[in-house]
C-alpha cells in the first residue's frame, strides 16, 4: 500500500490542461488568428508579429504571475499558520504601490528632471521594486528581533495601512491625469512586457522558485508548529527568513512587472487543496504552480474579451472569476482544509 499518495493522475491532467490553456490563451485575442498560423509561428516557420511580440510574452507572463503568486501565498499560509494569509501580508504590494505612487504622483512635488523619466516603464518597475524592497527590509529587520511569527503578520498589515495612507495623501495633491495613471497601474497588466523585460522577470522569479523548493522540508516541519519544528532540528529564524525572502522575490517582481494582482495568491493554494487533499508541500508546491498558471491564463483570456477591442483590467477579472469559485467550493465541501 502506498504510504503517501503521489497524485500522478491529477498532475498529468493539470499539465495537459495547462498546455491547452496556454494554446487557448495565444489563440484568443482582439484579432482572430487561424490555428495553422499560430502553430507555424510557434515552430518558427512563419513570423506572426502579434503572436511573437505580443501574445507569447503575455502568456508566459501569465504563467509566471499565476504560479509565482500562488506559491508565495502557499508559503505565507504555512509560515503564518493562517488560511487568510497571502503574498501581500508582508506589505510587499503596499511598498510597491508606494514606490509607484511616489514616482507618478510625487512628480509634481519633485518636478523637473523626474517628470521626464516618468513615462518609461522601467522607471515604474524600478520604483515598485525599490518600494517593495524597502518594506521588505524593514519587515526583515523587525522579524529578526521579534520572536513571534504572528507579530510579523501584524507588522506587515500595519505597513499596508501606512503606505495606503501616504498614497491617499499623495493622490489628494495630484492631478486627475496622474491619478488616472496610478489607477491604471493598479488595474494590473500582463500584456506590457517585452521579451527583454520578461527575461529579467524570469531570472528573479526563478530565484524565488528555487528558494521555495529548497524550503519544502522546512515548510513541512512548520506544519507541526514552531516549537515542534525546533525540536526536530529546524532553525526557525533562518527558515523564516528564507521563506520571507522567497515570497518577497516572487511577489515583489510580479507586482513590479504586472502590477498588484489581487486574489490569486490567497485563493490558489485553497483551490489546490480541494483537489490535492494533502498538507505535504512536496505535492502542494508543484500543484499550486500548475493551478496558478492555469487560472491566470484563463483569467487573462477572459480579460481580453476575444474578438473585441476591449481589454478588461486583469486585477478585476481575477477577483470576479476567482472569488465565486472559492465560495462555491467551500460551500460545497463545507470545510476549509489547511
Amino acid at each position: 500500500m502506498p504510504e503517501t499518495k503521489t497524485y500522478k493522475l491529477p498532475f498529468l491532467l493539470l499539465s495537459i490542461l495547462l498546455i491547452i490553456c496556454f494554446f487557448a490563451n495565444i489563440s484568443l485575442g482582439s484579432v482572430s488568428i487561424p490555428f495553422k498560423t499560430i502553430f507555424e509561428s510557434l515552430t518558427g516557420t512563419t513570423d506572426n508579429y502579434i503572436i511573437q511580440a505580443y501574445r507569447l510574452p503575455k502568456a508566459f507572463t501569465a504563467i509566471l504571475v499565476g504560479s509565482g503568486l500562488g506559491i508565495s501565498g502557499l508559503l505565507m499560509q504555512t509560515l503564518f499558520r493562517n488560511p487568510l494569509a497571502g503574498p501581500f501580508v508582508l506589505g510587499i504590494t503596499s511598498g510597491a504601490s508606494l514606490g509607484v505612487a511616489l514616482i507618478i504622483m510625487g512628480a509634481s512635488v519633485f518636478g523637473g528632471v523626474f517628470a521626464t523619466l516618468l513615462i518609461s516603464k522601467w522607471s515604474i518597475v524600478i520604483a515598485a521594486s525599490l518600494g517593495s524592497f524597502l518594506v521588505l527590509l524593514i519587515v526583515l529587520i523587525v522579524s529578526a528581533k521579534v520572536r513571534d511569527t504572528m507579530a510579523i503578520l501584524i507588522i506587515g498589515l500595519m505597513f499596508g495601512s501606512i503606505t495606503a495612507a501616504i498614497v491617499s495623501v499623495l493622490s489628494y495633491f495630484s492631478s486627475a491625469e496622474q491619478l488616472q495613471q496610478y489607477i491604471f497601474w493598479g488595474f494590473g497588466s500582463l500584456g506590457n512586457l517585452s521579451w527583454q523585460e520578461l527575461g529579467v522577470f524570469f531570472i528573479i522569479y526563478s530565484f524565488g522558485i528555487l528558494i521555495s523548493i529548497l524550503s519544502i522540508k522546512g515548510l513541512n516541519t512548520l506544519l507541526l508548529g514552531e516549537n515542534y519544528a525546533k525540536s526536530l532540528g529546524l532553525n526557525i529564524k533562518q527558515s523564516r527568513l528564507i521563506i520571507i525572502i522567497a515570497t518577497s522575490l516572487l511577489a515583489g517582481t510580479i507586482t513590479a512587472f504586472a502590477g498588484p494582482i489581487a486574489f490569486i495568491g490567497l485563493a490558489i493554494p485553497h483551490l489546490t487543496r480541494q483537489i490535492f487533499n494533502t498538507a505535504n508541500h512536496k505535492i502542494l508546491l508543484p500543484a499550486v504552480f500548475l493551478f496558478g498558471a492555469i487560472i491566470m491564463l484563463i483569467c487573462d483570456s477572459i480579460a481580453q474579451i476575444p474578438n473585441s477591442d476591449y481589454t478588461l483590467p486583469i486585477n478585476a477579472i481575477t477577483s470576479l472569476i476567482g472569488a465565486p469559485v472559492v465560495i462555491w467550493l467551500l460551500v460545497r465541501k463545507r470545510k476549509m482544509l489547511f
Binding site: 503517501t4 512548520l222 516549537n227 498538507a279 512536496k282
Partner: protein, 264 residues
C-alpha cells in the same frame, strides 16, 4: 541484557531555572539535581505553577537555564546543535499541531525529519521505523486517517508515535494526560511504561495524575516550593515527600494506598 540502570541519559547539576527579563531574574526553582537513567519511566509531579513546564522547557533547551549545568549523554546541553539535539531528544508538547490536514502517517513520518535529505524523502529504513512506531503504539487502524478526524486520546497516541519515530534516547512529554478521560489517562501512561520496557528508551513526563504515576513509574521527580526530590515512588512515600506537595487544608496523602484523599 545490558546493565541498564547504570547508564545515565540526562543529568542536571545545581540547575536553576526561571525567566530573565531585562535585568531582572525570576527564579522558579533552584538547586535541581536530577539523574535520568536509561530505560526508565520517570514521572514529574508538582502543583500548578511550581515550574514543571519550566523545568521540561529548560531541559529540552526551549528556554535558557539561569545557572548550573545540564548534561545529555555526558555532553553539556549547550554544545548540542539543533539537529544533534533532535537526534537525542524528542518532545510531545501540550500545544496542538498547526495543520490538522496531515495524515497520521505523514505526521509520524515528520519525526524522521532530522534524518531525511534536503527535500525530506523517506528512505526504506525511515518507512520501517515509522511503521514500527505505529505498531508499537497500536494505531495501525488510524494510519490513513487525517488528524482532524482523531479524538484527543488518539491524537496523543499519534504524537507519541511521532516522538518514537524520531528515534531518540530520551522522550519528554509535557502533561500527556490532560484532556483525557480516566481510561485514556491510564492507557497513555501504561503505553509509556510498555514503550520503556520494549525499546529501552528513557521517557520523562509531567503529570497531575500522582496516584497513577506512583503505580507506573520507575522514578519520580517531585517538585514542591522548597526543593526538587527524585527517587523511586516507594522510597518517596516512605520519606513522606508526597505530603509536602499540597497545602494540608483540603487533601492529605494516604501512604498505605498511595493516593490523595479529600478531607471530610
Amino acid at each position: 541484557m545490558e546493565n541498564k540502570n547504570q547508564h545515565t541519559i540526562l543529568k542536571t547539576k545545581n540547575l536553576t531555572i526561571g525567566y530573565t527579563s531585562k535585568k531582572e531574574e525570576n527564579t522558579i526553582a533552584t538547586n535541581i539535581n536530577i539523574v535520568l537513567k536509561k530505560g526508565e519511566l520517570i514521572g514529574l509531579v508538582g502543583g500548578n505553577g511550581i515550574g514543571k513546564s519550566t523545568l521540561l522547557r529548560t531541559i529540552s533547551q526551549v528556554q535558557p537555564k539561569l545557572s548550573g549545568s545540564i548534561f545529555l549523554n555526558e555532553k553539556p546541553l549547550e554544545n548540542y546543535t539543533n539537529l544533534d539535539l533532535a537526534k537525542s531528544m524528542s518532545l510531545v508538547l501540550t500545544e496542538s499541531i498547526s495543520s490538522k490536514n496531515l495524515s497520521v502517517f505523514e505526521l509520524i513520518a515528520l519525526g524522521r525529519q532530522p534524518y531525511t535529505n534536503w527535500v525530506g524523502n523517506l528512505s526504506n529504513t525511515d518507512i520501517t521505523i515509522v511503521n514500527n512506531a505505529i505498531s508499537q503504539t497500536n494505531i495501525e487502524d488510524l494510519k490513513h486517517k487525517k488528524c482532524f478526524e482523531l479524538s484527543d486520546g488518539q491524537l496523543q497516541k499519534v504524537m507519541i508515535a511521532r516522538a518514537l519515530a524520531q528515534d531518540t534516547d530520551l522522550i519528554i512529554l509535557d502533561e500527556p494526560t490532560t484532556h483525557l478521560d480516566m481510561y485514556h489517562k491510564v492507557y497513555i501512561l501504561k503505553l509509556l511504561q510498555k514503550l520503556v520496557k520494549e525499546t529501552g528508551k528513557t521517557i520523562l513526563f509531567s503529570s497531575h495524575e500522582i496516584d497513577l504515576a506512583i503505580q507506573l513509574c520507575d522514578t519520580m521527580i517531585v517538585m514542591n516550593k522548597t526543593e526538587v526530590t527524585s527517587n523511586s515512588p516507594c522510597l518517596l512515600i516512605q520519606q513522606g515527600t508526597f505530603s509536602t506537595l499540597f497545602p494540608e487544608d483540603l487533601i492529605s496523602f494516604d501512604a498505605t494506598t498511595g493516593t490523595f484523599r479529600v478531607k471530610k
